[in-house]
């Protein structure tokens, strides 16, 4: 049996301790060990962006990260956006602007949008497109996604959620 490594990490605010085989990818750890199936795996080689999570506050592709590397890390998945509560402003904007159809790519888009709006409370269309260019959506054609992100930014500004708050 391969050696298993002990990891301690925080996932969506909860401290956890597990033993993992080194080759276990972070996306599979989240989905199969923690049953956090909101993180989707599209291509599994870093092209589609569906598996994007926040790794110590910055977006990372969980299919290109091993769970063992998350020892000591703070991970946030799409489930952190609205834990059993009403939709978060970003999620609501996606819903209202028809920024998803099948929804498979959406968790990744939401996490990158969250990173973007943390740093750019009022992004231009160009900035939004640059920030989301690592994500593939095969349903929407992106126009409504860009609209949704800018609408979410407006909403968050109106609500007075500044740079340091969590979108």
């Amino acid at each position: 049996m391969p050696q298993r490594h002990k990891i301690e990490l925080t996932v969506n605010g909860k401290k956890l301790q597990r033993h993992v085989e080194p080759r276990l990818l972070l996306c599979d750890f989240l989905r199969y060990e923690l049953r956090l199936t909101g993180t989707h795996v599209g291509c599994a080689h870093g092209v589609c962006g569906a598996c994007t999570v926040l790794f110590n506050g910055s977006t990372a592709r969980s299919c290109l990260t091993f769970a063992v590397q998350a020892d000591g890390a703070v991970i946030e998945t799409v489930e952190s956006l609205a834990a059993r509560g009403p939709l978060s402003p970003i999620q609501r904007a996606f819903y209202e602007h028809h920024a998803l159809q099948c929804g498979f790519c959406t968790p990744g888009f939401l996490m990158s949008t969250r990173e973007l709006l943390t740093h750019h409370p009022d992004p231009s269309e160009e900035t939004v497109r640059m920030a989301l260019r690592g994500h593939i959506c095969r349903c929407t054609g992106y126009v409504n996604i860009v609209r949704a992100v800018r609408a979410a930014a407006r909403k968050l500004r109106e609500e007075g959620l500044g740079r340091d708050s969590e979108p």
Partner: protein
Amino acid sequence: MKPSRFEYFSPTSATEAVEILVKYQGAARLLAGGQSLVPLLNFRVITPAALIDLNRCHSLDGIRRDGASLVLGTMVRQSAAETSEIVRTCCPLITTAMPFLGPSTVRNRGTIGGSLAHADRVAELPAVAVALGAIMVAEGPNGRREISADEFFVGDLTTSLTADEMLREVRFPVCSEGQRFAFVEATNRHHDLALVGVALKLVLKASRCEYVAIAAVGIGPKPTRLLASERCLVGNKLDAAAVRTAAALSIEGIEFESEPHTPAGYRRHVLPTLVERALMEAGSSSEESGR
């Protein structure tokens, strides 16, 4: 999709990492940002016996100026290099080129040393390193040695590092007044790997070209200096005619290869266009911004 089994090490220093490299005699791979390596593992293109994760080697992620050199540790994240004021001041070409390396999520994890040591034939950073005349500092069991960027890149996914060596840091010459730079590429999507990419360093004196280095990727197994173009520029006035002549000469002596989505003819066609664009861009930048 699963990588095959491997032993996992996460050393906290380069010395420790090299010890593990020595022990595995070429059967171990170094893991930096993982943005190129992990896809190869996921597809089982490579099946190393061990992975040596450098992400806990915090002495390798420094950005500093050391005299006439800008020193980037091998684990400096591409996103950190992009936003660093020291990098912008010392080597603006690095700042300019960073967004071409990949989407921001990839640059959050991807590293300077990882991209260089991976040496993909269509990666952008190797062209920048060659154009700037960077020095690679390798660390092995017998200490450190310096390798020029020209000699570092040997072929596709191949560098002159030996099996028991790692890239420890990269030293870029700090740019001085009057130097101008450009990075241009042809690609399917803005952040994709280049089909053809061109990095340029230019020194103008009284609108004459005093020095020029043009490095291209995507036209061979490693970054290539376009020497014929360079030779025809040095000593001459950088006017439209000189730019056109230099661009036309860029394809001299190069055997273009065809790939499924990039026929040789396309590369032959696009290289002079990119050279012309890079020269125009650098040539037209003002003295103040061209530092």
